[in-house]
Structures are given as C-alpha cells and as structure tokens.
C-alpha cells in the first residue's frame, strides 16, 4: 500500500513538474502557412498567417503577409514577432520559400536556423523563388492560404510528371551536410496564381543550374528519384512507368527504363536529350555522357 502511494505521489509530482510546457490555447496564436526568407544585405522574413474571423461567428478565415528584418534569421523573426500581439504557430506551415538573392552563407544560416527552431516541421517543403515576399504578396490564394496552394500544386505536379523532388527540409539539409547537390522546385506567379516552373539545383549553397520542368524530369531519372512520367519526344510522348539508375565499378551509369509505349526511336532520342542537358550542366551534375548506357525495357 505504501509503495502504491509513493508511486502515485511520484507520478503526480512528475505531472506537476512538467508544468505547462508546450501548452497553448487554440486561439492564442497566428497560424503560419508559409514562411519565406529574402535578403541582400540583411535578412528579411515574410510569413503568411491565417487568422480566425474574430468576433463574428462563421466568418471566413483570412490570410495576410507580415514581414520582419534583421541581421540574422532569428533577429528577423524576432522583429516580426514584435509587430504582432500573438505568437506564431508553425505547426501547419507547409512551405518554406527561399528568395533567389539569398545564397552562400546566408542560405547556410537559413538552413541552420530551420534546424534549430523546434517549431518548424523538419518535413516542410522548401521552394525557390525570385523574391519570397513579392511572391506571397502578389499572388491570390485559391484556398484559404497561399501556403496550402503551394502544397497542393506540388502534389499535383508530382502526380502528373512523376518527379519526386526530394525538397523536404531534412532531405535538403542532409544533402547540404554531405556536400552534395540539392534542388528546390522553382515557384513563380502566373496570372496571379503560384505555379512550379522548373527546378533550381544548388551545390555548396550556390545555384548551379536551373532546369525546366522537362529537364527536371530527365534529371530525376538520373538522380534515381522518379516514379515514372511522360517525356515529350517531339512527336509523341514516351510514357515511362519506371526508371532505375545504377553506377557500376567502372564508373558507368546504366539507366534502365520501362516504357509503356513501344518506340524504336526512343532510346536514341532520350540519350540525345540527356546529352544535351548534361552538356548544359556538365560540371554541376558530375556526369559524363559517354558513361551513360540506356537499357530499354518495354512495358505493357
């Protein structure tokens, strides 16, 4: 009996000691749906927040963009916080935008900041754009918030093209830490809507290449992160159901493709396209066209 009482007391004390860390009421914060970093000389952070209707019942939630500046990402976020009355809640943040003018050490600082703050989800999607603040301000949201639009757009593009962008924060951070190249889907505003227009490839925190959507698909075959897709060959689309790239001991790349349509010309055209792309981005991609062999496997 004594032992039970003591155990109960310990558990209750544990509950009390844990206090209220992490406790916050549902209406006690602004929900951030997208965050963007820009900056030439200093850092500028822009967040899109969604607020509840307020005093009116059943009013539509609305989104707005707030910005802050500072010498570091943390300072910029701090200055942003000082402008608002409630805390920022990052649990539903779906997009992290990096402005094109943010490169080198500044990009490194942003990546480190993203790792340090606990509120930001490690699986958040990262994107590149010309200017994050402008992108958020100039576009109109289709759904509740632009952050959700960007996430929906990404999902749609992935399913249509078959590209697996590998643009999660933890994926990019791991590649950056290993000194490898990493890429972001590139966003731009078209007719007041945010669209994905290609991919930006980075290495050592500098942009090395910018692919169009088609090049991004080809690149994904070589990077081995592809679940199939369509490649336009000028006259027809080649419907690729599966691809696999391997490197043998001799340093040769072998790309195996499963093509849904039978096309005799395909391998020639595909290789030419790859060579053209590789020629354009030879140094960054670290591939050599004569070390690529294509094996065609006709699908059903």
């Amino acid at each position: 009996m004594k032992i039970k009482l003591i155990s109960l007391l310990c558990v209750v004390s544990l509950l009390m000691l844990c206090g209220c860390s992490g406790y916050r009421e549902a209406d006690n914060g602004y929900i951030v749906t997208a965050i963007g970093f820009d900056g030439n000389e200093d850092f500028k952070v822009s967040v899109e927040v969604v607020t509840a209707g307020g005093s009116e019942l059943r009013s539509e939630p609305k989104s707005e963009v707030i910005s802050g500046k500072g010498n570091s990402p943390m300072e910029a976020v701090f200055s942003l916080n000082s402008k608002i009355s409630k805390n920022l809640v990052f649990d539903h943040c779906t997009a992290l935008l990096i402005g094109k003018n943010l490169s080198g050490k500044k990009l490194e600082e942003v990546l480190k900041y993203g790792k340090e703050i606990k509120e930001l989800n490690f699986a958040i999607d990262m994107f590149m754009c010309e200017n994050a603040e402008d992108l958020l301000n100039e576009s109109e949201s289709v759904s509740v918030a632009r952050g959700f639009d960007i996430a929906a757009n990404l999902k749609e593009t992935k399913s249509e093209t078959g590209i697996d962008y590998q643009n999660k924060f933890y994926e990019i951070y791991m590649e950056y830490n290993a000194g490898k190249s990493y890429s972001f889907p590139y966003l731009k505003v078209k007719n007041e809507r945010i669209i994905i227009d290609g991919e930006s490839v980075f290495k050592e925190n500098k942009e090395k290449a910018h692919f169009t959507n088609e090049e991004a698909l080809l690149y994904s075959f070589i990077k081995n992160n592809n679940n199939g897709g369509k490649i336009f060959l000028g006259e027809e689309f080649a419907d690729i159901s599966h691809s696999h790239c391997s490197l043998n001991n001799g340093g040769e790349y072998t790309v195996n493709l499963s093509i849904k349509q039978k096309s005799k010309k395909f391998s020639k055209i595909f290789k030419k396209r790859v060579e053209k792309m590789l020629g354009k981005h030879k140094e960054e991609l670290n591939f050599s066209s004569d070390k690529i062999k294509l094996k065609e496997r006709d699908g059903i």
């Binding site: 109960l8 509950l15 844990c18 206090g19 916050r24 549902a26 209406d27 969604v50 809640v89 539903h92």
Partner: protein
C-alpha cells in the same frame, strides 16, 4: 442498550407480562390480549405489535382457536397448546426473552402460557409491502418485469420460483446491533465456489454496526479495493438476474428491508452487460454490447483527447478544423480545462436535479439547461461550442454504461486534468495507471478481469459480444471448481 440476552422467562404469568410491558413501556404499538384457554381457567397472553401482524390471522388462528377450544384437560400445557389448539403453519417454542423480542419485533405473535416458563412464537407477519413492480432503473424491452421489494421473504420466494431445485441453499444471519436485519446467503450448492462463500461469510461476520438499512452498507464493508472507482460487488433488483448469476456459481445476499440484492463475485465485464442481452437475439445483443465498450472509452476520453489535441498537439489536427476551433474559441476568457470542468459540473447538476425533481419541473428544467448552457453561454463567449460538443458527447455516451457512472465521472475528470498538464502523454500515463489498477482489483479473491485475461473464444463468448445460447455450453471459468457444462451434470 440492553439486548436481554441470557434472560429467561419465569413460571409466573404476571411477572412475564410485566417484564414485556416494562421493556416496551414507551412503545404504544404493543398489544397484549389476555384470554382463557377454552373453558379452563388457564390464562394465555398474546403479545404482538399493531401494524406488524396480520390481524385476521391473529384473530382467527390464534385467539379464536384458543378461546373456543373444548375439552381442555387439567394438565394442558404449552405442548398441548401447540399440538392441539393453535392453527398455524409455523410456530416455535422458546424460553429466551431475547428470542421472543426478536420474533414479535419481526411481526410474529408471542403466546405466553400460565405456569409455563416457555412461550410460543407464531408466524403472523402481516406488514404491508410495496408489491411486485418493475425496477425503474432496470427496465427492459423484452423479458421478465418482476422486481424485488423490501420483504426478504418474498424476494427469496421469487428466487425460489426461478430455481426450483433442492440445490438452492438459503442460509440466514442477522446484522446490525439495533436493527437486527435479516440477511440471507443464497447459492447453488453444486456450483458455488466454496472459497468465495467462506470468504464472504467471514467478511460479513466481522461487520460491527448498529444498523443495516440497505445492502450497500454491506457492500461497502466487504468490498475488495475499498477506494477503487470500480464496483466489485454486483447489485440488482431483478430476480431473473439473480437466478442467472446463481447459475454461474455466484452468491447472492438478500437483505431484508431493501429490494437491492447484491451478488459476489463481480467481474469487470459485467459492467457492460445489460439485463436484456440474454432476452434479445444474440446478434442484436452483441451490437449493444460492443457499443457499450466503445461508449465507455469515448465517454472518458473525448474531453481529454480534445484538450490534448487543441492545446499541445495542434499539428495533429487538420488545418481547416484547427482554424474552426480557433475561430469558435476566440474571445472565451477561460482556459480549456476550466471550460471542460465547468461543463462537466453543469451536466452533473442537471442530471441530478432531473432525477430528483418532480416530473412537472422536468420540462422547465430541460429548457433552462438547454437554453442557458447550450445557446446563451456559447453566444456570450463564456464557453466555446467545440468544448460543449465534446463534453455533451462524453455525457451522452456515458449513459450507455449506467453501472460505471461513478467511475466514468472520476476518470473523465482525471484524464482531462492530465491532458491539460501533459497532453497525450499525460492522458496515456493516467490510462495506464487506470489499467494497472483495474488489473489489480479482485472481487472476493477472484480476478476482476478474469474474463479478459488469457483471451480465448470460449471466454470471449459473453464479453465483447454474446454468442447464441446454442454455443454457450459452458459456464464462465472464474469459479474454478464448479461444474462447467451447462447442459449435463458433468465437469
């Protein structure tokens, strides 16, 4: 207080009468009728309490038969009286004053005979009872509608009518120094767990209290895990339920003066059984049974999980839902836990007042409760609509398990507090503690969760669902040494 134990009647008729008059000198309900035995000079005194006896029985079977006795011999004594004169199915002879007192206080009539140090006590009980009614808290759609009443003798008769077997054993005892309440142990000789029987008798014998007015007095004295939220002693007002439990090897304790009969041992799975589970088709009954388990879990968990998700784990909620909750909660001045506890309290108050108020006030009360709590509080931003929905859902689902209403109330509050302190971690810690405590409970030495441990199809036949009577061929195995097979008298 003198219980007159050890005091015996004397030979002196007047002295005996004076003794009883002295004992009850402040009780105007005692009646003393003195008469002669037939045409002899031998005097008799009939002592009884007005209102406790059947008047016509006393008049016709006792007084009249004594007064109109003929050819009374000179040496007529108490034996002659009992064998030749009195018309009565049940009478006893005693010398002890305490026995006579106990009998007449129970509605019998004492007959004191001149020159005899013995008296006769004749069964003339005639107090009024409520009659057989359907218990209000245990209504069924289909099945028997009899219910016990306050007279233990009648209750025992109802049980005996269900179990017409010489295997039925009824042992009596008295409890309560002043009330001397009669209690009866009822069980089936060939099915009962003797260890349980010995244990329960031992516990009841140690009860020292001045009065037992209800079976709950006994329950609280003898129960295992005295501070546990879960009841370990069953209770019912229905004779068919008692019969069913006796057929499973349980022991029933009938207490005079209350229609509630208690049974031991009582298992955790019985909290989810309904009286009519066995009178409806097994498929229908199984749905109800499964629903009760689900509703129990929902009832204790909904407020706690809602608080945990909206205060600690908002990343788990869909954004649209989160925005709705945030919008509906804006402007509410109280933290979520205060809102929740206040609503739980309000609902409990409404339930209690609804139970105890006259029916004429019921409609007004429901309007007040619904309007005040449901609409006005939300519009005034004192409460938020999502919390009101969560607590209401929790209360409604709690009504599915009436046997657990006390446990559900406490568990709901403790889980909500734990969630408000530590989120889902706190919820899981408290749920684990509850699970450990339930697993630790015993009911008269039998594991409380014996039907849920080591699950097998045989054990599950009457827990989460009920199979057809065709396949329920064995009794539950919590009573280890009883005949398991329902169909034949074999092990």
């Amino acid at each position: 207080m003198n219980d007159y134990s050890g005091l015996l009647l004397s030979d002196n008729f007047q002295k005996n009468l004076d003794l009883f008059k002295e004992i009850f000198k402040k009780d105007d309900m005692l009646r003393v009728r003195i008469a002669n035995l037939g045409d002899s000079n031998k005097k008799l005194a009939f002592l009884f309490f007005d209102g406790m006896v059947n008047g016509s029985l006393v008049d016709e079977s006792l007084i009249r038969s004594c007064v109109t006795a003929v050819n009374v011999p000179e040496n007529a004594d108490i034996v002659y009286l009992s064998n030749r004169v009195l018309y009565s199915a049940e009478l006893a002879k005693t010398k002890k004053v305490s026995d006579i007192l106990a009998s007449i206080l129970n509605g019998d009539t004492a007959v004191i005979f001149e020159n005899s140090c013995e008296a006769l006590t004749v069964n003339t009980k005639g107090w009024r009872t409520r009659g057989i009614e359907e218990p209000t808290d245990e209504r069924v759609l289909q099945g028997p509608r009899e219910g016990f009443d306050e007279a233990a003798i009648l209750n025992l008769a109802m049980i005996r009518r269900k179990l017409q077997t010489p295997d039925l054993c009824i042992e009596s005892a008295k409890l309560g120094r002043r009330t001397k309440t009669a209690i009866y142990y009822v069980y089936l000789e060939s099915l009962v767990n003797r260890k349980c029987l010995r244990e329960i008798k031992k516990r009841i014998e140690t009860i020292d209290i001045d009065g037992i007015l209800d079976s709950n007095y006994i329950s609280e004295f003898v129960r295992d895990s005295k501070h546990s939220l879960f009841k370990t002693i069953g209770s019912t007002e229905r004779p068919d339920i008692i019969a069913a439990r006796l057929l499973e090897g349980r022991i029933a304790i009938v207490v005079d003066g209350t229609p509630v009969v208690i049974t031991v041992p009582y298992l955790f799975s019985e909290n989810f059984q309904s009286d009519e589970d066995y009178y409806l088709n097994y498929m229908v009954a199984s749905v109800g049974r499964a629903l009760r388990y689900i509703c129990f879990f929902l009832s204790i968990s909904i407020p706690a999980i809602f608080i945990a998700l909206t205060t600690f784990h908002i990343q788990l909620l869909p954004t649209a839902f989160m925005l709705t909750v945030s919008e509906l909660r804006s402007g509410v001045p109280f933290p979520s836990i205060i809102e929740c506890l206040s609503l739980v309290l309000i609902f409990e108050i409404l339930k209690e007042t609804g139970l105890r108020n006259p029916q004429s006030l019921g409609a007004a009360l429901s309007i007040v409760g619904g309007l005040v709590v449901g609409q006005t509080a939300v519009e005034a931003r004192i409460m938020s609509a999502p919390m009101l929905i969560a607590v209401s859902l929790s209360e409604v689902t709690g009504l599915m398990t009436p046997r657990l209403k006390g446990a559900v109330f406490y568990m709901r509050i403790l889980l909500a507090i734990a969630s408000s302190l530590m989120g889902l971690y706190g919820y899981m810690i408290v749920v684990s503690l509850f699970a450990v405590s339930v697993l630790d409970i015993k009911s008269v030495g039998i594991d409380y969760t014996s039907s849920l441990k080591n699950p097998s199809f045989q054990r599950m036949k009457d827990t989460f669902f009920r199979t057809s009577w065709r396949s329920m061929i064995k009794r539950p195995d919590f009573n280890h040494n009883i005949i398991r097979n329902r169909r034949k008298y074999e092990n």
